[in-house]
Amino acid sequence: MGSPVLNVKDLHTSFKTDDGNVNVVNGVDFQVHPGEVLGIVGESGCGKSVTSLSVMGLVPSSIGNVSGRIEFNGENLIKASEKRMREIRGNHIAMIFQEPMTSLNPVFTIGNQMVEALNIHRRWPKKKANAYAVDMLKKVGLARAELLMNEYPHQLSGGMRQRVMIAMAMICEPTLLIADEPTTALDVTIQAQILDLMKSLNRDTNTAIMMITHDLGVVADMCQRIVVMYAGKIVEEADLNTIFKQPKHPYTIGLIQSVPDMREKKPRLYSIPGNVPKPGSIQTGCQFAPRCEHAFDRCRSETPSLLELSTGQKVRCWLYEKGEEGTVYDKTATIRS
C-alpha cells in the first residue's frame, strides 16, 4: 500500500469552555493512503469536524488545544509553523465544508474566491489564474463557467455552490481532500450529482479523500475504508465490505441496523437506546457502555483500546479481547444471531 499520505496518531483535541477543558477528540489514530477514499462516520457531535479541523491546523490556539501527531507525507503538522501550515493548506491539503451556503464569502465574486488559492500558492498572473479557474469550474460540471466567475455566491443554488467549493479545493491539485459532510445540506438528486463528481475527481486526479459523513449510504457509495467514531474516539476501523458485512463493535452494529432500508420494509427498526453523551461527560470506561446492551463491569471501569483483529479490522471493545473471557468469536456470537 505504500506510506500513507496522512497518518494521524493519538490525536487529542480539547476546547476551553466554561466548564473547563473538554476533550472533544480523544486519541484518534487513522491513516489515509494515496488515492484512497477514507470514510469517517459517526453521530453528530462525535468529533468528526474537529478532527478534520485539527488536521488542517484550523483549531485556534486561543480556544482549543491539539496534541498528538499528524503526519502529512511524513511531516508532523502539529509541530509545523503557521507559515508552513499556510503553504500546505489549500495547496497540499484542501477542504470542503458542510454548508455551501455560508462557506463562501457573500461579498466577493466566485472568480475572486476561486483564484485566491492560486494567488497564494502559485502566484500566477491574473489572466492565467482566471483561465485556469474557469477550466476548473468547467471540470466540476458548471456550464456557464465564464459568467459564473463574475457572479456572487447568493446568485447560485446550493448544488452549484458546493461544486464551486469543490473546484476551489481542487484548484491547486492537492494530495488530500478533506470533505466534511459535503452533501448533508443538499437534496438527494443533487447529492447524487456531487458524489458522482467527487468519485470521478478521485479517479482522475488520484487525490486522496477523507470523507466525513454520518450517512452510511454515502459511505457505502464512496469509500474504500471506513472509520467509525463515537464520542471522540474511533470505535471501529475496517474496509467497506467488512464494516457492512461483519461489523464488530456493538455501536457499529446498532448504527447499521437503525437505518431504514429503502428497498424493503421491516416491521420494526432496531434502535440504540439512550442518547449521545455530551463530550467529556463520561470519564471512565468505554464511552459507549451506558448505551450498550452487552456492557459488563469492565466496560464501565476500563477504557478499551483499539484492538486489531486478525481480519485487519480494528475495534475498540472489551468483547473482542483475547484472554480470560475466551475468544473473540465467542463473544460476537452473542451479538450475531
Partner: protein, 334 residues
Amino acid sequence: MLRYIIKRLAMLIPVLLGMVLIVFSLIHFIPGNPAQVMLGQQASKEAIAALTKELGLDRPLPIQFFEYVKGLLMGDLGNSFRTQNPITEEIWPYLAATIELAFFAMIIAIFIGVNAGIISAWFQHSWFDYVAMLIALIGVSMPIFWLGLMEQYVFSIQLDLLPTTGRDNIRDPVAAITHLYLIDTLIQGRFDQFSEVFQHLVLPGFALATIPMAIIARMTRSSMLEVMRSDYIRTARAKGMSMFWVVYKHSLKNAFIPVLTIIGLQTGLLLGGAILTETIFGWPGIGNYIYNAIDYRDYPVVQSGILVVATIFVFINLIVDLLYAAIDPRIKYQ
C-alpha cells in the same frame, strides 16, 4: 437603483409631513408669545399685539400650518421672526458650522473607532483589547457636556494649548465663502488661518467624537469577531491564506456593513444632537441656532431647522442604505 431611490424618497414624504405637523404643534403649544420675546420684557402691550398681528400669529393655527406647508412645498422655509430673513438664506452658515464639526468628529471617530475595534478583535483577550474596550465603555457612558468642560479645563485653562470657543481667531476672522472654514481658508491660501480653524475644531471635535467613536469601536470589534468566526473565513483559511489577509480582505468588508449603519446613524445624530457641545464650545452651529430659536419662539426657524436636520438625517441613512449595495452584493435595489 434609481427606482429604489425614488421609492425611498416617496416614503420620506409622510415622515417629513408628520414631522412638520409634530414640530409645528409642539412649538406652537410652547407657552410664550414670540412677539413678547422679540420686543423684550419692557415692551408695551400694544406693541406686542401689533407685532403678533404682523407675524400672522393671530390667525387660527390650521391656517398658519397650511400656509407654512404651502411655503415648504414651494421650497420656502419661511422667514425668521427675529431677523425677518428668509431661513433658506440664513441657515447655511449654521449648518456649515455643524457639518464641519460633525464631519471632523466623525472622521476622528471612524478612524480611531474602526482601528481600535479591529485591533481589539484581532487581539481578542489581550491587554489592548481590555483597555480599549474599557475606554470605549467609559466613552459611551460619558456625559459629553461634562467631558467638554473637563477638556476646556485641562487643555485650555490649565495647559493653555487650545482655544475654548468659537471657530476662528476673532481678531482675524475667516472670510467665509463656503462657510466650511477649513475649505475657505485653503481656497484663500491662508494656512495660518487654516491652522487656527483646525485648533478650534480639536476640543469640540473630540468631545463630539467620543460617543460615536466608542460605539464604532465596540461595533467594529463585535462584528469583526462574528465575521472571523464565520464559515467563509474558515474556507479562506483552508486555502492557506494568512490571518492578516483573511481579516483585511474577507472580514473587513463584511464587518463593515453593521459598522456602516452605526456610522450613518451617528452622523445623523451628531448633526442634531450637537447642541450641548455647541453650547459649551460656543459653536455657531445648527443646534445652537434651533435651540436659541426655541428661546426666542422663532417658530419658523425651529420648524424649518428641525425639518432640515431631520431631512439630512434621513438622507444620510438613505445614502448608507445605498452604500450597502456597493459593499454587499446580496442587496440589490430594484
